[in-house]
């Protein structure tokens, strides 16, 4: 999976490493800003109210 991504990235290895880092950062940002808040709200993982 990761090897497949690596093979399909363009350029020499420093460029590939940079692109891979940027992709990883983008995925983490999407999870932190939208993915995890959705998960928390939908499954009530952190409820503190009664009723």
């Amino acid at each position: 999976m990761y090897a497949w991504v690596w093979r399909h990235l363009p350029g020499p290895w420093p460029v590939r490493a940079l692109i891979a880092l940027v992709m990883a950062a983008a995925i983490v940002a999407v999870l932190m800003l939208w993915g995890f808040p959705w998960l928390e709200e939908t499954f009530g993982l952190n409820d503190v109210t009664v009723g």
Partner: protein, 239 residues
Amino acid sequence: MYRRARRAQHKRARRGARGPAATTLGIVGELLLTLGILVLLYVVYVLWGTGIQTGRAQDELRERMVDAWSDPVAAGEAPVAAGEAPVDPAETEIGDGYALLRIPALGEDWEWVVVQGVELSDLARGPGHYEDTSDPGELGNVAIAAHRSGHGAPFADLDLVGIGDSVEVETAAGTWTYTIDEPARVIDPTDSWVVDPVPGQSAGTEPTERRITLTTCHPRYGSSQRMYVSGVLTDGVEI
């Protein structure tokens, strides 16, 4: 035996590919690694990422609320224009700053801006006032909920608040001090009676006391149960 294995390895290396079983196992391994990283990231989000959001929201709420309190229009000394902040805490819109909450037992600097409402989106910004419960100083029960882990965890140590500890609530209308007379107790998520006007009595019972009730989750890093502490008004204007 080793020689045979090595020969097989050479054969595969010559072909430049692994067998189908090894390929499948490789993919499964990568997926498991990815899943592990995602779970760790979620933990980082809950314990740390949410605190950053809440900290920012608190700064913004505090600025807007304190501005509104010192505004002569809001203080009732000038005519109220459309869209101005209200003085009466009861008129606070859901999601807006409602009061300042201080619990000296949790630290000298322990002060949070309470928002109106207890939806998760409200609690993501700070402790929330159950909007249908009393306002500070009124007969009945002022109920406030807050997270115990993540989102700044305002009530992380609520279990350490005991009998005799004070809870201060400040709004544009004044400051009230409540004294805890019921230490932390664990209840079920459905035990909504703790936020009733007279806790333990049917919702229609006329209140004779001025109480405050603070709710959070239990256990600290879960939410299968709830925990609450409760106190009675000991200082401030009775409304």
